[in-house]
């Protein structure tokens, strides 16, 4: 059996730990600990809200729903612009520092608190698609969420991958308070589409 003095020491230790624990929240606030490495997320999901079953072989007249997602891990609320663009294989892609110079077809504006995620529907379809045998394919119009855009993009047959390839490109922009405008975040996702004849 422990002596009374030993038990007293245990009580003192428990008391000290308890008192320190009571002041931990205010100490954290006082220290104003920085958040972890801030970052933003941009992702694309298939029709079932999963990272699978992405549309690939597409044709005129059919609708293709996919979902775009944005995650805010920046440590504070953010204002994001999610820009949808459409390119053929020869047109410029964005990279880690510069956005694609192609025009924005559709822009989502997303306001997210720290730690929050947003998912938005992107349904697209094509019309006025003309094939010149196995030589070239021309897409006249693209509909994004019911809004029609004249695009008139022609692509030649790809001998390596056997198809007429186009790409939907989605760029993430975020509001910069210093310049008072949305700036490209260096993040983009894309989806390759093979235009096929529905005949």
């Amino acid at each position: 059996m422990w002596s009374l003095n030993k038990c007293k020491l245990v009580f003192y230790a428990v008391g000290l730990i308890g008192i320190i624990a009571c002041f931990v929240p205010s100490a954290i606030k006082l220290a104003d600990l920085p958040p972890g490495e801030p970052f933003s997320e941009l992702y694309v999901l298939g029709p079932g809200h999963q990272a699978e079953d992405y549309p690939f072989n597409v044709s005129a007249g059919d609708s293709y729903p996919i979902y775009l997602g944005v995650g805010n891990r920046m440590g504070s609320s953010m204002y994001y612009g999610v820009d949808v663009k459409f390119r053929n294989a020869s047109e410029p892609l964005p990279n880690g520092t510069a956005p694609s110079s192609l025009p924005v077809l559709y822009e989502y504006r997303v306001f997210l608190g720290d730690g929050q995620n947003w998912t938005g529907n992107l349904t697209f379809s094509f019309s006025n698609v003309v094939f010149d045998g196995n030589i070239s394919c021309s897409v006249g119009k693209l509909q994004v969420n019911g809004v029609e855009f004249e695009i008139d993009k022609t692509v030649a047959w790809n001998n390596v991958s056997d198809g007429f390839y186009y790409q939907i490109v989605v760029e993430l922009w975020q509001y910069d308070q210093a310049s008072d405008r949305l700036l490209y975040d260096g993040i983009f996702v894309s989806l390759w589409l093979n235009m096929t004849s529905n005949a």
């Binding site: 009580f11 009571c22 929240p25 205010s26 204002y79 608190g113």
Partner: protein, 166 residues
């Protein structure tokens, strides 16, 4: 026809041309320029509202309801751009106006929430008060436990029989 007659006809033609090129679109529709101006204005108001919300958040206020309001305003602006792209300029102006109204409402609410918010110092103070109260309650409970334990220990010690180690 004399000269006066020709002048009258010329004036009438000029007036008709002016009416067709300037007046009619203003009376019966909205130009693409009007839509672009409205969309640009709404975009600026939306950005200003976000700045206001960000400032309110820095003051320690939960701004999730304000962010929902900004989302609605942002959606209206996207609809305005879509309508403008489809050539429906009056709808574009209407959606841009809706965006502005929503964003201005959010900005006003953010300002009110910020002015009513407890500052950083009062936040620290309230945490310290809560911490001190919890510590006092803990010490009292621990002291009572110690008193009970001391009595229990004494009772147990007096009941035990001395043994001689062999």
């Amino acid at each position: 026809m004399n000269l006066r007659g020709w002048v009258r006809i010329a004036v009438a033609v000029v007036l008709a041309v002016c009416l067709l090129t300037i007046g009619l679109p203003r009376v019966f529709g909205v130009s693409s320029q009007d839509a672009a101006t409205a969309i640009g204005g709404a975009s600026n108001v939306l950005q200003a509202a976000f700045v206001s919300v960000a400032d309110t958040e820095k003051a320690g206020v939960n701004v999730s309801s304000l962010l929902n309001g900004l989302d609605e305003a942002g959606l209206a602006l996207t609809m305005a751009e879509a309508a403008s792209n489809n050539g429906n300029y009056s709808e574009a102006v209407s959606q841009a106006a809706a965006c502005e109204t929503l964003a201005e409402g959010v900005e006003k609410e953010a300002g009110a929430m910020k002015s009513g918010a407890a500052g950083w110092f009062s936040g620290i103070l309230s945490l310290l008060v809560i911490g001190a109260s919890s510590a006092i309650v803990f010490i009292v409970v621990l002291a009572l436990t110690w008193l009970w334990f001391k009595r229990y220990y004494g009772r147990r010690l007096s009941r035990s029989r001395p043994e001689v180690a062999s």
